[in-house]
Symmetry: C2
Subunit: 591 residues, 2 copies
């Protein structure tokens, strides 16, 4: 039986760290080589990390990326490999410049895949479809590719394409399969959001079946600023059946023997595979490497790692997001302001899972409004998580501020100013410890708060990384329950979960004094912030008009706060970062 | 002599304020009508303001924009007008969807110009070339247009195109002129940067001459978040000569009689104008309105407003940028922390010019490190600007913080932690006054500081709008001198300009203890931050290698601060906002 052995390297590069990424590629290449694969696949832009953003505008960076690739080329003497990098000059396909403002000496660059064999760069494929929506800005940097190399490796016809290329039914996959490709090597840097691992596999299965071709999907893994790549590399056979799946949220090497004979058999038997090539501006170029199938000693049994429950995937995404942000930015320790509330408790639990209890420091900063329960629950949380904690009272500083402001505030009533001051003292104390001892401050605000602006700029919003910024409050509770059910003693004390949420910035304050109940607020926020629903549509969905109008106004008015918020992990299909680019100055009163 | 009278409305819309923008359009339409023009031109996206950003993803916003346009259509009964709006459905040109992830019910939208006459929408043109570099994200939203309407109005052939379309030598202008257009009505929202008014006119003159066509360029004016539109609408005749220019940095109506006969004469005499239409995928469609030239009572004499010196333009841009941010966001008063230094002095002067002295409040917040000179100079500045000032000492609060932190800091040496604390107390006091009384806080950091991270997050960086964020320190001095030479008493005391810059956060501190002299720093920052030069290139330019390496490291390490900085006005060709999108997690050590 004719088979083709692919080794898929699901790796975790760091954006910009070309040297580190190449070392990582070479290490995995050595590991992969042991399986004697016909081909080793690395993710999209494995050399540079994804997304390199405006590093791509530096000609020296593009040049250095090419030098980094050359190291890999030289190492790939006895192996065929596909590696994502930034192409320039070596990817054909003329395209008129899209902008008249081209920096001197700058040339078109491509999101490219190099095919390496025998210590040389055999050919390249450049991504055809450049995503420029959501978190993506690829049209800012890249020129779309025009060439379609079809490479026969040890007797099997292989075509490479990249990420977005396979999401489109009319993309290159169709033409590549029609031109004879038996295997599509799709390389990826596909950011996670809730439920994506499943919808992605559905799409890949459909694409494989529609084109009668084996699809191998090699994804990146790890965190990069607001993005998390979830791994879950997969192989689907030509009927759309799942053949193998790599782990989620960690590096992995997936070695699979692909049954190419079945593809060929199915094609000669006729069936649904496209017989004619659709018209396209892309030209197919044929390359042959090692013309005969290699004899295999034995078949490998490829794993099908399970997909976790979607909510557990979110927890994993948050964990790897924190770990990678902290480590890739050169930090070891994190500092978290603990209030006795659910948000800071969940954030601390995630931090402990990401970094270990020794690397997490809690700071409890009580005021006269801090309840006994908050104090007790914080102490209990700290005990269960086995982290260290410091306590600093904000009362003396709060009093001094009020004395300082006494003259200018004379006659004015107490309002949110005094509440914000307390939050800002806490922010300052966290930053003081961070400055003195080098901890990264993790903020604890959730998506519901961040959306309606129920957060103090420079107060509880102060910090380097906003862990649960994209997690709605109702999901914060679900995640806390999940974490508690994981076995062993529940880490988050029950009372923290059960108590009514409060900022404790004045007596008997409850979140629900200022906001609709979260069970009402969160679906409205999803409709408005994530799905761009109008007020009428939300009312039609059954929400109370007054509540909707109030929420919409709160969201619109707090754009300036979000603009100054720290980066945080995207876990929904529309986060509050690069996904959502609203003007601050915005007169839209539309309903 | 056959002439064509155009009225160009250089207006200042507000992003999203559809109702307000329509009222403004109708008011200008009434005003323009008095001149009995053949055509009235409004800027690009006059209905929505520019850039509407992710408002464009709301189907209701696009629908409301269309309703807003309809109000203008109905009002344009006895006049022909070109108005920028968001087109949907009514602009032909099929295009495959660029993204598989299209929200349900979303359709392609266009950056369009409506041609209105006789109370109906006669035809539309959709922008062909969508800028997606620098501050622009148009490919995120718009589909490029395919149609080229050529409209004969009162016997003169007129073609419309939009902004970027005219920057490209191979853009629609060429084809429109070849198809017979005598006048190009180019409508714009062209953001200001230093020197742009001049380079833009050079380009327009070249385009007019190359195509033997009259170019009318109607620009937007005003501030929108980080962008300022400078106005300076112009008309160039078919030989590239300047015929008329509107004012800079304010609304204006430019009425010009265009000598169309000269265009026709020059064409029949032959010459350089393109005789053959270049091959293109765009189809020309002809429309005729009012077939005969109208009799004019008298010729209008169009003004040629002077272009100010480039540095004076920067000052104007900063002034209108502040005024529009403050007013369009519903504020009246601003609050500025005054230190006795040049940055806060210049910021205060700009604020007074933008808003009037009555609307500017200074806050002086001395510490034991504050010098006598700083105090005296601040008082003198306040006197000359005739603004109010409050004084709040930070010393008691600083002492209380230190006492609070005494235990956790035991044994640690004083470092920048204590300096940052002082800056953060000041930030908190400014925010407290802002929260209590509703002032907008203007921050005072310059581009040099913001680039190297010589600024305290949540301290001097705390505020709603960063006025001189894109002004290098050396230019801060130049602008201060300019402002002082403007006539009357110099507003910025000489000693503020002459003293060595200091943050006064410890004894005898000077900026040059931490940074290279600004005369050295600023050119390096320009090369690195604005021009993407590599270390080797900067060394070749004559800069000291060690200094360059130090500056590069400071810039790279402070990305996280800039990510949390308030919005500020772009005045260079590459600001620190949407122009520059660097990853925070960034392992690039490239030189």
């Amino acid at each position: 039986m004719r088979t083709f052995r692919i080794a898929m390297v699901q790796m975790n590069p760091t954006v910009g760290d070309l040297g580190g990424n190449v070392r990582r590629i070479l290490r995995w290449l050595r590991e992969a080589r042991k399986a004697k694969p016909d081909l080793v696949a690395f993710p999209e832009l494995a050399v540079t990390g994804y997304p390199p953003e405006d590093l791509l505008l530096k000609p020296k960076f593009v040049e250095d990326n090419r030098c980094a690739l050359n190291e890999v080329v030289r190492a790939a003497k006895d192996v065929v490999a596909v590696v994502g990098y930034v192409g320039q000059g070596d990817s054909a396909g003329h395209h008129p410049p899209s902008s008249p403002v081209v920096a001197a000496g700058r040339h078109d660059i491509y999101n490219a895949a190099a095919l390496l064999a025998g210590g040389r760069l055999v050919t390249t494929y450049a991504k055809r479809h450049l995503p420029n929506y959501g978190v993506f800005d690829e049209s800012r940097y890249f020129t779309p590719g025009r060439r379609l190399p079809l490479v026969t490796i040890n007797g099997t016809a292989v075509a490479v394409n990249i990420c977005e290329d396979i999401w489109l039914p009319h993309g290159p996959t169709r033409r590549q399969a029609a031109a004879g490709a038996e295997i599509i090597v799709n390389i990826n840097a596909s950011p996670f959001h809730l439920g994506k691992s499943r919808s992605r596999e559905q799409m890949l299965a459909t694409r494989a079946r529609d084109n009668g071709v084996i699809v191998t999907y090699t994804n990146m893994v790890g965190g990069q600023d607001e993005l998390v790549f979830d791994g879950h590399s997969v192989v689907l056979d030509h009927t759309g059946d799942l053949v193998a799946r790599a782990k989620g949220f960690e590096e992995d090497l997936l070695v699979v023997d692909l049954n190419v004979e079945a593809v060929a058999r199915s094609r000669s038997a006729g069936g649904r595979a496209p017989r004619t090539e659709p018209p396209a501006a892309m030209s197919v170029e044929r390359v042959v490497l090692g013309p005969k199938p290699r004899k295999k000693q034995s078949r490998v049994v490829a794993p099908v790692e399970p997909l976790a429950d979607p909510l557990d995937e979110v927890y994993e995404a948050l964990t790897i997001g924190v770990r990678d942000y902290v480590k890739k930015n050169g930090f070891r320790h994190v500092l978290i302001g603990l209030s006795g509330g659910i948000d800071s408790a969940l954030t601390a639990a995630i931090a402990v899972d990401a970094l270990g209890a020794d690397n997490v420091l809690g700071l409890f900063m009580p005021s006269p409004y801090t309840s006994r329960e908050s104090r007790e629950d914080t102490i209990e949380l700290v005990r269960r998580l086995a982290i260290r904690m410091k306590t600093l009272s904000i009362s003396p500083t709060f009093k001094t501020y009020l004395r300082t402001l006494d003259g200018v505030f004379a006659g004015a009533k107490a309002d949110t100013t005094e509440e914000n001051l307390q939050a800002r003292i806490r922010g300052n104390l966290l930053m003081a410890l961070s400055n003195k001892f080098g901890h990264l401050v993790l903020t604890t605000g959730n998506k519901s708060e961040m959306s309606v602006g129920y957060a103090t700029l420079y107060g509880d919003m102060a910090g380097g990384f906003a862990v649960i910024k994209d997690v709605p409050k109702t999901m914060v509770y679900e995640l806390a329950h999940r974490r508690n059910r994981r076995g062993g003693q529940p880490v988050i004390p029950k009372r923290i979960i059960d108590r009514a949420p409060t900022a404790e910035l004045r007596d008997n304050q409850k979140d629900e004094d200022s906001l609709p109940p979260y069970a009402v607020l969160d679906p409205i926020l999803k409709a408005y912030v994530e799905d761009d629903r109008s007020v009428e549509e939300m009312v039609d969905m059954g929400f109370d008009r007054r509540t909707v109008l109030r929420v919409v106004a709160l969201v619109d008015r707090s754009e300036y706060k979000r603009r100054q918020a720290p980066v945080g992990i995207k876990i929904t299909h529309r986060g509050l970062g690069k996904d959502r680019r609203m003007p601050v100055t915005n007169g839209y009163q539309g309903m």
